[in-house]
Point group: D2
Chain length 373, copies 4
């Protein structure tokens, strides 16, 4: 696969996750950093089927116009990435800046889809990219009030669709695969699934699992495997940053909170009391603090408790996974996989399909999957 | 297996774990409680090969002479088990009391082994017990300064051995299997292993995994599977109760702390900085609080942290596992398994053999194992 | 003061706080317990001016009809108070039960006030009570949409008033002082204040300070005295129990959350980011867990953090303070104090008047005040 | 006091605390930063009696030879202070570098004291310094096995003394006041006290209160004022950095742990169970994490718990206090105060004299004291 180029097109290319992923991909290519956080570099997942760091070509859309180097400096100042690395890849970063496009404006949905598709095709051609992956790391959308339930792609645009679905539509029409790292709608519509199958491209999602839910995906199985009864599981997520600002919006917040609860029911077989809340605290910046309290009982009902605090940098957790997803999805595309990729549940809070919800089984499934590519 | 009786002989039969296990076994037999914490009651482990709750006959040794019913009342007052349950099984508990024996005194090691063996054989005969499991839940011994390394059972008693090894010796001579729920030496001597093979009995251990280490066995793999780099992992365990009092002794403390660290090296492939401490705080009684701080880094080295607090009742966590172990080991014995049972790593901090250290893989292995019985 | 009787009339007499206070008062009178949690028993507050435990006569109103002894048993089962103590004071508790009255029903507000007043007067007469304190420990009311702002008692009942204000009105008319341990309106109306002055009785409030806010009242001053800058202070309170069930109601929740934030602004001189949330988790029962995260900076802006978890039994914290308040308010009444008692800010989240908000200064003020009685 | 210069001579001038204090003092003089963490800038302590930031002249001794600017860069890289500020004061920092001296070597204790005294006198003369404060922020010394108990300065050097005492001796002989921010011996010898009185200089100490103990000094009084009974208070301090490395030494660790426990006994009137531990974890660098668990009971003995985690940057907490202490001690010297200054207990874990141990009373005492200068 040496000569082949793989394109990675970020929706939300100037956001924290995409910028961190971009700086990191450039640094990995230049061998400036160890691949901490990149699971595709762990021995069980290392595979010649995956495109190499040097084979990735980056581009993307955003509404915002802040130049990437400026965004990278801001992330360095906020402690998300080392200033030293941002400086070392400054030239390459400016080159990626040239590949970013403003999200097109258009009078109708059809024209918007066409304009996005045109940007994708032009990017592919410009760089002789063999395969293209569109990765959604744009702002989380509110839960839409209406979505089409039919499987007829030709009728898709008759009614208003959320931007993430329009982007998936454009991606499929351009022959690109699609990864949704957000809880937005994306490709999760029967008609888009039909289109992906017709075009012959895979897609993956939803909502990257990087903090509280990641921890839940190992702790909830622990309680289940030990036959302990979990009575309540309550959480509070405090975060600033762009994602936090957006989640202060009740609609987007609801989308997120729903993805966060699924793992408990799936792992335990019942839903304990309690909810997981998200609060926007600008002062906390790009670092998120989550606190969870779990009340449970043991033999003969004896009451016990566990609590944990997670203090993580969301973008530094998400960015390497975004690159992992791009590599694996491109390889799946090349290997002829079409439609949803439930084998990638390891990466997501709310995975497509009916796979296991515990991290360890998800890992086993992922290893098997990558082995077949 | 309906008609067959399985004997369970506790070393430390009047301790908190054994008393809780005894009350619980009687309550399960009488269908007074749900089997919370009993993993052998989870669907994947439920098996006709395991002795039923009504087929277990309980007995044991202890140095102490506090009557079981009085010990059960104290545990109820301390919140370890419900007074209601202790009252409901009072008659059966008095019956078990009749089966407890003082740990024999003897002038020499040989005589002590013979006296223990005699108690075990008499118990088997008295109850027409088909198979007997000796379960060590006695006080943790200090790390011994000297242990025999040869594999010749006939030379075993030439030099001083710790009590747990003498008990394993007696168990094997009486044709009983042996489970060590403590970090003490137990059957872990080449000559005892040779004897177990010669006699044809299995044995299992070491050191029940019920709190901080249980959590480590799912969190450490999480960091490993996500390619996150763990820099330090420090812990403090605060506990009162009999076990706590004993662990205030530096020798016993050292034995315990060593078992607690193994999982990190095994899961991560390297040993992060930090240690796990145990402090005795009598006021905390039978509830243990463990606090752990984990510092780690993500993409490009960004520093993050996680901490957790575990507030568990050790005896209520240990007791059902002790019963699970007795059931599984008896079934393994019946199925002709001989020597160490590394497939039981799920239960232990410091398992025999070279199995996986993450809880999920240990679970898979256990399920497979029980399926073969 | 030996011969004088002091009446304590609980609004919400069958609730958790009142029942715990009642059992405790009877146990103190019988010298069955140490006065843990009773600040009036600390040397600087011990005063012959305060009525003794044996001089208190208890009674009250409630909507509920569960007998006090039954409520006490439930609290014992939930671990709020020792079963042993409830049993020891069973007879005295049944005697108090005889003094409880259903909250009167009436066609109009005037008639309701008269009926309450009649119950109070009858209680005073029945027991030759010298001074009566009405203590509101009833369910927190939603924040009322409308409240009278004038100071004319004669016009008070022209428009609908919340029950706590009607009760304060009745108390004043009966010559009783009034303590509000809840965030409800109570005596906080200009016309009620005018009435208290006319009648010559004192009143105190609002909202007992027993958990998260208590901790805030010492930590916020610590940051202030050290010139550290607090950027955010976020909290989550998880609680079950009757109070928790009521706080699941958004109106009552809002009343409570507002009282909780005042201390930060007062201590720091500015309002840091973040809010304090309350979530109802029935499984947690009468124990409340609060978690707070404080982000702050030191010299040259270096970012730091503190977090705390408070796991307290609300009723066991509130009940002794309720008794302290009754003793002090009765003594203040006797000493001729009239109108609001801002000197009791030590006890409250949202104290009347403009006193200091740090616990230590509130203590100094309280000691001085009790010294003048 | 405008024209007068005040000298501040750091023992351990190249350490983290001293370097942070130096950078900060230069930044305050240049008005580059707000005085966060400087309590002498809070309105109740602002006083014309204190030397202004521009009147401070800095110098010091150290064993180490790393240049101050290099140390400042390392602290900036570690996140202790902002690189921007270090860069802005680079020239002034190099000027201070010129004032640092290697700790003299000498064949005898007398000669060492003379050499130190000579450095101090030369510094005073070089800068026409009116008053000089020697501030000990050197490495904590092990608890000495032997210390003189007599009050005769002339016999002081007959036997071996710890370096901190020799430095205090030299300071007094040079007419300088002395502040000990460490738990080392310093001026705490009867003969040194006699000398301070004879020479007419004040001294202060011991052991800056910046983290866990600071929090204890407000939480322990909270429990006391509420008549709650504290059963156990256990803590673990995890720290890297130079101070952490030194505290890995059992002798120094013991000195520190002892200072940390005093506040509980003093505030509560009894010593709860539990200890406070210090562990060295190099990876944690200059940030310290302390976790404390407090078990307590309320009314009728109901068991409750509190825990807190403090994640602070020690040097950023200590440095402004060190400057505050220098300013206040110089002003006290000028105002004719002689001998120990127990009024400065606000700053210390283990204050000289018999003052109050709660932070709030210590603050009141400090405000009164500064008002008299
Ligand atoms: N970081 C994590 O750990 C994590 C985990 C799961 C999901 N996510 C999701 O990833 C997304 C990105 O997070 P972030 O922290 O980078 O947020 P961010 O706010 O920093 O970046 C989002 C970017 O998307 C752009 N954008 C908005 N609408 C767009 C559109 N329609 N088309 C193209 N660009 C658009 C915005 O201008 C912004 O630059 C969010 O939806 C977040 O919820 C992140
Ligand atoms: N509870 C847990 O979660 C857990 C987990 C892992 C290991 N363990 C181990 O289980 C053991 C029991 O714990 P516990 O809390 O019941 O302790 P415990 O102190 O309550 O009981 C120990 C009992 O062993 C008796 N004993 C001491 N030496 C003996 C001997 N040589 N032969 C027979 N009896 C002897 C003692 O008299 C006592 O009754 C300890 O070794 C503990 O370390 C417990
Ligand atoms: N426990 C604490 O730490 C604490 C602290 C601050 C404030 N409070 C307040 O104290 C009050 C009591 O708390 P609780 O835990 O006992 O609650 P609870 O629900 O157990 O008891 C409240 C009682 O009030 C009764 N009631 C309702 N409306 C009434 C009315 N109009 N007149 C008379 N009785 C009425 C209810 O029937 C119930 O028995 C609540 O308002 C709570 O917010 C408690
Ligand atoms: N930072 C805090 O919050 C805090 C709080 C209380 C006490 N302290 C104490 O302050 C002191 C300094 O802490 P730090 O973090 O700067 O430590 P550090 O290790 O960074 O610096 C100590 C400096 O002292 C020097 N030194 C050692 N012995 C000396 C001697 N005899 N004379 C002169 N210099 C000597 C060392 O070379 C080093 O440069 C320690 O004793 C620490 O325990 C610090
Ligand atoms: Na915590
Ligand atoms: Na905590």
């Amino acid at each position: 696969m040496t000569a082949e180029k793989t394109g990675v097109w970020f929706l939300g290319a100037r956001g924290s996750v995409a910028t961190t992923a971009t700086v990191g991909a450039l640094a990995l290519r230049a061998r400036l950093i160890d691949p901490i956080g990149c699971v595709t570099e762990l021995p069980p997942l290392r595979s010649p089927a995956l495109p190499g760091w040097s084979d990735l070509v980056l581009g993307g859309h955003d509404l915002d116009t802040t130049p990437l180097p400026k965004k990278a400096d801001a992330l360095a100042a906020a402690g998300v990435l080392p200033a030293r690395v941002a400086t070392a890849v400054a030239d390459e970063l400016s080159a990626v800046e040239e590949e970013l496009r403003p999200l097109p404006h258009a009078a109708t949905q059809s024209q918007l889809v066409e304009a996005i598709e045109a940007d994708l095709r032009s990017f592919r051609q410009r760089h002789s990219v063999e395969r293209l992956v569109v990765v959604n790391v744009a702002t989380t959308e509110p839960v839409p009030s209406w979505l089409p339930e039919h499987d007829d792609p030709s009728r898709l645009l008759h009614d208003p669709l959320p931007p993430s679905a329009l982007a998936a539509y454009a991606a499929f029409r351009a022959g690109a695969s699609y990864v949704d790292f957000t809880p937005s709608t994306g490709a999760r519509l029967p008609a888009l699934d039909a289109l992906a199958h017709r075009v012959g491209v895979p897609y993956a999602g939803h909502d990257g699992k990087t903090g509280e839910t990641l921890v839940k995906s190992v702790l909830a199985p622990m309680f289940a495997l030990r036959a302990l009864r979990v009575h309540s599981w309550s959480g509070l997520n405090l975060l600033g940053g762009g994602d936090g600002a957006n989640l202060a919006d009740p609609g987007a917040n609801a989308a997120k909170v729903a993805s966060k609860q699924r793992v408990l029911q799936d792992s335990l077989g019942y839903a304990p009391q309690g909810t997981s809340r998200i609060d926007y605290v600008p002062e906390l910046g790009d670092f998120k603090t989550a606190w969870d309290l779990i009340s449970f009982s043991g033999f003969m009902g004896t009451a016990m408790r566990m609590e944990f605090t997670w203090h993580g940098c969301d973008s530094a957790l998400a960015a390497p996974l975004v690159l992992d997803l791009a590599r694996i999805t491109a390889a799946a595309h090349r290997a002829g996989r079409v439609g949803p990729l439930p084998e990638l549940g390891f990466f997501f809070k709310d995975p497509l399909g009916d796979g296991p919800s515990d991290l360890s089984s998800q890992w086993d499934r992922l290893v098997t999957f990558v082995g077949t590519l």
